[in-house]
Symmetry: C2
Subunit: 408 residues, 2 copies
C-alpha cells in the first residue's frame, strides 16, 4: 500500500482526531439550542427565495459577483445601521463562510510570520491557534467586567513602541467578549479608538456574538464610532440563527475587500444559505434574536445557579451579559487542563483556560458553553464536574446534592 | 483616513477587480444553464430535509462531525460505487465547500514551496494560479484525444527522476479533461497507475466534471482501479446540480483526511446545502444529470457548428466528450491573449490559452464555455468573436454571415 506519511512535508499539522460523537454533557463549542432553530420559517424562506431566485443558482455567486448575494448584503447594510450604528454600503460587505473565514482572510491579508498582534488577554481559542500556525506573536491586554482595559492597552502599546515593535493590528471582541461574556461600554470603545489613533494602528472588531446581548441593546460598534476607516469588522449568523449555516460577513472599505477577496479561493460562499437567510432575516431576524436572547439569558441564570449550587464559593464568575458561555475561575489548587482531561473521560466536555487565555491565572479558568444543553444536562453536567473536581483537587469541599427545583 | 496600503505586507496579492456584472457574451467560468436548475425539486427537498433534520442546524456539522452531513456521505458512497466504481465508506468521504476547497486542502497537506507537481500540459487555470501562489513548480505532460499521454508521462517522470527531483504528486482531470474535454479510456488509466507505481508517486484525481459525459457512461475512476491506495479523489455538485451551491467532496483514506481536516479551518462547510443535496440526490440525481448532459451535448454540437459557421477551418477543435467547454486552436497568426483583451472590450469574454495551458502552442488556444449562454448568445457571441479576430488578425479570412437556422 502507498504510505502517505512518507510524502508528507515535515511541518504538516497533526491529525484531526476521529469523530466519536457528542459527549454526554457538552459544554464546549458554539452550538446552540435545538429547540430554537426556526425550522418552519426557514422552510418558508427556502420556498420563497427559490421561487424568486432559484434559477440564478446556475451562476457562480448568483451573478452578484464575489461579494455574495446582494439581497443579504442589502439586509445587512440596513440591519447593521439599525442594530450597531454601522454605515456600510453593499460594496463594503463581503459574505463569507462563517466569521472564521473572515478571520482567515484578514489574517492572510495583513499578517506574516513574526508579526505581532495586540489582543484581549483572554480570547477565542481559535484565534490563538490561528496565530500560532501563522507564526504570529500576540500580546495580551488584561480585561475587566467592561472588556479590554484601555489603560492596560496604552501601557502595552507604549511598551511595544519603545521596543520598536509595530503591531499589525488590535484584535478585539468588544460585544459579548469570548470567553469573558462582557460588553465594552461606549466610552471605552472611544478610548480604544483613541489609543489606536495615537499609535496609528488598525483594529479588527469581531462582533460575532453581538446580536445576543441579554439586555436587548448594545453600544454602537467600534466601526460605527470610527471616523478614520481604521476598523475592519466581522459578524456572523452562526450564533443568531444557526451554527451549521456557514454564513458570516466582513465589513471594510472596498479597497480592503478587494485585497481580502484575492485570498478567498473558494469561488464564493454557499449561495443557497445566503438566499434563505436573506429572506428569513428580512422579516424575522429581530424578533428571532429577541426570543433567542431571552431564552439564553434564562439559561445563563440557570448555569450560574448550578455553579453556585454545586461549586459554592469555589466558582468565581461574572454573569455573562450575552451569548452562550460563562468564564469561571476556580481555586488555585485546580489545574483546569487536568480537570478537562479527566472530565472528558467521564462524559463532561469543557474548555480549559489555557486554550482561551494567556493570562497568568489562565490555568484556573474554564469556559462553559450553555447554548446547547437543556437544563437537565446543564444541572447534571455541572454537578458531575463538581464531583470530579472535588475527587481530584479537593474543591469544592462540599457539594450541594439537590438538583435544581426547576427540574423536579 | 487610515491608509491600509501602509500596513499591507510586501507580498500581498493584487486586488481582485471590481465586479461589473456579466459580459454580454459570456464564454468564461463554470456557469450552467439557468433553465436546468431543478428549482421545484430543490424546494421540495428543502422542505423535506428541514422537517427531518432542521433542528440539528443548532450544532456545528449537524452533530455528524467534521466530515459533513452523513446523509450526503451515504448517498456519495453508494453513487460513487455505481457511477465510478469507487469503493469508499462514509469515513473516506469529506464534504468540502466545492472541489476548489478540496484542491486547497490537498495542496496545503502535501505541497510546500519549491515542490514539483506533474500535470496535464493543459489544465484548469485555477490549478496553475494555486501552484504559482504556493511557489510550486509544475511539469506539463502532453495530451491527445484520450487525455494525458502515458508515454509522455513516463518520459517526464524518468527525466525528473534522473534530475533527482521527486514530484509530490501527479495531478490529473481524466474524465472530461479541462480544458480539452477528453475522456481518458480505462487502459490509459491503468497505464497512469502503473507509471505512478513505478515512480512511487501519489495521484490526485480531479473528477469534478465526470457526471456530465455526453455518452452517459464513463470509465471507472482511477481511484476505482487503484489497489495501492495512492489515489486521492475529488468531485463536485457544482457542475451536476448548481455552481452557486458550494458542495464538493474529497475521497481518501481516513488517515489522509485526518491530516487534510487540520487545514480545514472553517468549522464545517455549509450544512443546509449538504442536507438539501442529500435529499435531492437520493431520488433525482441520476435522472437530473442524464437530462442535463443531453442538453449540454446539444449545446456542444451547437457551439461546434457555430465555430464552423463563423471561423470555418480557422477553428480547430475536438468535439468535447462531456462538460461545458470546448478548447479551440486558432491559426498561428492569432495571439489569443490579445484577442481576449480586445474581445472583452466588445462584450465577449473568453479564456485565453496561456492561462489554461503550458503547451508551446498555448497562445493559439481559447477555451469557450457553453454551459451558461442560450443558443442565441452562443451564435451571436461566436460570430462577434470571429469578426473581432478577423479585424485584428486577418483570420478567418471569410465569415459566414448567416445565423444558425435553429434560431430563425
Amino acid at each position: 500500500m502507498f504510505d502517505f506519511t512518507r510524502v508528507f512535508p515535515q511541518d504538516i499539522l497533526p491529525e484531526t482526531g476521529r469523530w466519536t460523537g457528542f459527549p454526554q454533557f457538552n459544554f464546549v463549542g458554539g452550538h446552540n439550542d435545538q429547540t430554537f432553530i426556526p425550522v418552519d420559517a426557514l422552510k418558508a424562506s427556502a420556498a420563497a427565495i427559490l421561487d424568486q431566485h432559484g434559477a440564478r443558482l446556475a451562476t457562480y455567486g448568483l451573478g452578484d459577483g464575489p461579494l455574495g448575494f446582494l439581497g443579504l448584503r442589502k439586509f445587512l447594510s440596513t440591519s447593521l445601521k439599525a442594530r450597531a450604528g454601522i454605515a456600510a454600503s453593499v460594496d463594503e460587505i463581503l459574505l463569507v463562510s462563517g466569521s472564521l473565514q473572515a478571520l482567515d482572510l484578514v489574517n492572510q491579508t495583513l499578517l506574516r510570520p513574526g508579526d505581532t498582534v495586540v489582543i484581549e488577554e483572554s480570547n477565542y481559542g481559535g484565534v490563538y491557534s490561528r496565530f500560532n500556525r501563522l507564526g504570529v506573536k500576540f500580546v495580551g491586554v488584561p480585561t475587566d467586567e467592561q472588556g479590554m482595559r484601555i489603560d492596560a492597552l496604552e501601557t502595552v502599546l507604549a511598551a511595544l513602541d519603545k521596543a520598536g515593535t509595530r503591531p499589525r493590528l488590535i484584535y478585539t471582541i468588544p460585544t459579548v467578549q469570548n470567553p469573558t461574556g462582557t460588553i465594552m461600554p461606549e466610552n471605552r470603545r472611544r478610548g480604544l479608538l483613541a489609543a489606536a489613533k495615537k499609535f496609528d494602528l488598525p483594529i479588527f472588531e469581531d462582533d460575532c456574538y453581538a446580536d445576543l446581548t441579554f439586555a436587548g441593546v448594545r453600544p454602537p460598534a467600534i466601526h460605527a464610532l470610527d471616523t478614520d476607516g481604521r476598523v475592519i469588522y466581522c459578524g456572523s449568523f452562526s450564533k443568531s440563527v444557526a451554527p451549521a449555516l456557514r454564513v458570516g460577513y466582513l465589513v471594510a472599505s472596498p479597497e480592503f475587500l478587494a485585497r481580502a477577496l484575492s485570498y478567498k479561493t473558494d469561488a464564493g460562499s454557499g449561495a443557497l444559505e445566503q438566499m434563505i437567510l436573506a429572506d428569513f432575516c428580512s422579516h424575522a431576524f429581530d424578533t428571532h434574536v429577541k426570543k433567542l436572547a431571552a431564552h439564553l439569558a434564562d439559561k445563563a441564570d440557570f448555569i450560574c445557579a448550578a455553579l453556585d449550587r454545586y461549586f459554592g464559593t469555589s466558582a468565581d464568575y461574572l454573569r455573562p451579559a450575552g451569548g452562550i458561555f460563562v468564564w469561571v475561575k476556580l481555586p488555585a489548587a485546580v489545574d483546569t487542563s487536568r480537570l478537562a482531561e479527566i472530565a472528558a473521560t467521564k462524559g463532561v466536555a469543557i474548555n480549559p483556560g489555557v486554550e482561551w487565555s494567556s493570562a497568568d491565572d489562565a490555568r484556573r479558568h474554564i469556559r462553559l458553553c450553555f447554548g446547547y444543553g437543556d437544563k437537565a444536562m446543564i444541572d447534571q453536567g455541572v454537578r458531575r464536574l463538581a464531583e470530579i473536581c472535588q475527587a481530584e483537587f479537593g474543591v469544592p469541599q462540599q457539594i450541594g446534592n439537590k438538583t435544581d427545583p426547576q427540574l423536579m
